[in-house]
């Protein structure tokens, strides 16, 4: 009843964990049986190792948090040696999230992973990164660049290609259509919302980088609106992300048009929250006599 089929992939449940909030799935193995999840998305991997931004990198906000981690990660080489083999032991879909600073970075990173004999199901592409060749403008704010990037990656892999969109754009529909035109199999959204915090005692911003990314329940309405806009503009499967912490939240995303959901910040409160949501969804389906959650996709009612 919770099984969702997308292309040739079968998801045992529609709940995945979001990039940067669940590590590589092995850190939490003491607390969570990751095999019960629909899938996991790794922390963003970049071509070279990244130290990340100077502290402070996080702060709490009402019903949410700000972060500016700066894509701290081991880099693709170490990722292939140390992390990729661990996924073989997991009986769930693993999507490797890739970030970069030029189209070439993304392509090289993906190609490096493609070389390995791995069990991953595909890639999620983080386009909320500054393009150093275009004066630091993010890939994900420009439809042409998004299409170009997607096509470059599409040419290099037959695995599932998910484009993860940023909400910090004027018209997310245009970006979603560009990603689909470039060959994306799925769209996931949203990444964090630009925000900032201020400490009035010190008159300093709460993050070292001044601006950061807002996540958690505070952004759920923004995420729902974006998912619905994407649903109205493209026909590929959609993964809803943003402030999800209960089955009710997940169902709202499905009604807005999502096929699957990812749980991010809520993992920090409860690393098993994804699994809890799965069992709540099961009860919901039983109670409402829903045969497949696909039946409620986009069933939002209004004139």
């Amino acid at each position: 009843m919770l099984t969702i089929r997308i292309g040739n992939l079968t998801f045992a449940s529609p709940v995945l964990t979001a990039s940067g909030t669940f590590g590589y799935g092995d850190e939490v193995s003491d607390l969570v049986n990751v095999d019960l999840l629909g899938g996991i998305v790794t922390k963003s991997v970049t071509l070279h190792p990244r130290e990340g931004n100077p502290p402070p990198r996080i702060s709490e906000t009402p019903f949410g948090m700000l972060n500016s981690i700066g894509l701290a990660n081991v880099g693709v080489e170490k990722f292939c040696k140390e992390k990729l083999p661990k996924f073989k032991k997991m009986d769930t879909h693993v999507f490797v999230n890739i970030a970069g600073y030029a189209i070439g970075d993304y392509v090289e990173t993906l190609e490096r992973i493609e070389v390995e004999d791995s069990t991953i199901s595909g890639y999620e592409i983080n386009v909320s990164c500054p393009n150093v060749k275009k004066g630091g403008m993010q890939f994900g704010v420009d439809p042409k660049l998004t299409e170009q990037l997607t096509r470059a990656l599409r040419d290099k892999t037959d695995k599932i290609l998910i484009l993860k969109l940023s909400p910090n754009v004027t018209k997310i529909e245009d970006i979603a259509q560009a990603a689909v035109a470039g060959g994306a199999d799925m769209i996931s959204a949203i990444n964090t919302v630009v925000g900032m915090g201020i400490d009035i005692a010190t008159r300093r911003p709460s993050l070292n980088t001044v601006f950061g990314g807002l996540s958690g329940p505070a952004i759920k309405p923004i995420a729902l609106a974006n998912i619905h806009k994407i649903y109205k503009s493209v026909s590929v499967p959609i993964i809803g992300i943003g402030g999800i912490s209960s089955a009710k939240d997940a169902i709202e995303f499905m009604l807005a048009g999502a096929d699957l959901v990812q749980v991010g910040t809520s993992n920090f409160i409860n690393p098993a929250i994804g699994i809890n949501i799965i069992s709540e969804l099961k009860s919901y389906c039983e109670k409402e006599n829903i045969k497949s959650l696909h039946d409620i996709k986009g069933k939002l009612e209004y004139q």
């Binding site: 939490v28 990244r50 130290e51 709490e60 972060n67 170490k78 996540s215 993992n267 920090f268």
Partner: protein, 262 residues
């Protein structure tokens, strides 16, 4: 690491500003070491997105305790919990103090930093390792030491209302100079105190291990939010990081030599 629903055994005020909560948490109690911490969900309906980390202050017979100061919403909720209530905790987290067998340990605690230091003190007593404990607070009524103080337990107050006047540093000189063998420092407390201890140790070429605190989202190395700047990468478990360390996973205990003096 366990996610345990602990039962509160007691939750009492132990001095003018400190509370001690004893929790029955057999899984965590079995695995924990001095210096480690737990990450607490203050309330099942907690609407913040981060748990609240607290050092483990004692461990015995399936029980652990925390010593805390009420500073905000989370700690106020903890303060209102009653014996028999349950509390969702994750732990034990972080690294822990070792190396107390070679040099003479001097334990230094400032304010609520006493929590992990008390646990280490208990541990050394059980292992019959002679050591000194220096604990500093602002005033007399903040002290809660029930144990009869003896020559190896030194209390200080900022205002001189009890014990030695001044910070724990004021008590250090006589202790260190009175020892023939080399000493080693284990310290936890507010940043200015840790910095002073680290400076003292650096000047006298003494080994020194500090327990640090930062804001934490996950508590076990996933979010990368608890990074601090370091001067040396000996502390780091994952070698791609040279400039930053994660307090929750590489720490909370750091070699003073890796921490920049300010």
């Amino acid at each position: 690491m366990h996610n345990e629903l602990a039962t509160i055994e007691s939750n009492e005020q132990i001095s003018s500003i400190y509370q001690q909560m004893v929790l029955s948490a057999p899984l965590i109690a079995k695995d924990c070491h001095p210096g480690q911490f737990i990450n607490i969900l203050p309330d099942p309906k907690w609407t913040h997105v981060m748990r609240r980390p607290m050092s483990i202050a004692s461990q015995s017979n399936g029980k652990i305790s925390i010593i805390y100061k009420v500073v905000g919403e989370g700690t106020s909720i903890l303060n209102n919990l009653k014996p028999g209530d349950s509390l969702d905790i994750i732990g034990p987290l972080g690294n822990y103090w070792t190396d107390f067998d070679t040099d003479y340990p001097v334990l230094l605690a400032g304010g609520v930093g006493i929590a992990p230091i008390l646990y280490l003190h208990d541990h050394l007593l059980i292992k019959k390792i002679p050591h000194h404990l220096i604990m500093g607070t602002r005033t007399k009524d903040e002290h809660f030491f029930k144990e009869k103080t003896n020559a190896s337990i030194v209390l200080t107050t900022d205002d001189g209302s009890y014990g030695i006047r001044g910070s724990v540093i004021n008590a250090l000189d006589s202790i260190v100079s009175g020892k023939n063998s080399s000493v080693i420092f284990f310290a936890c407390g507010p940043s200015p105190m840790l910095n002073a201890v680290n400076r003292f140790a650096t000047d006298k070429n003494i080994n020194c291990y500090l327990a640090l605190e930062t804001l934490m989202a996950c508590g076990f190395g996933i979010c990368q939010g608890c990074a601090i700047e370091i001067t040396n990468n000996s502390a780091i478990s994952q070698t791609y990081r040279n400039q930053y360390a994660l307090v929750c996973a590489d720490g909370p205990i750091f070699d003073g030599k890796d921490i920049p003096l300010c």
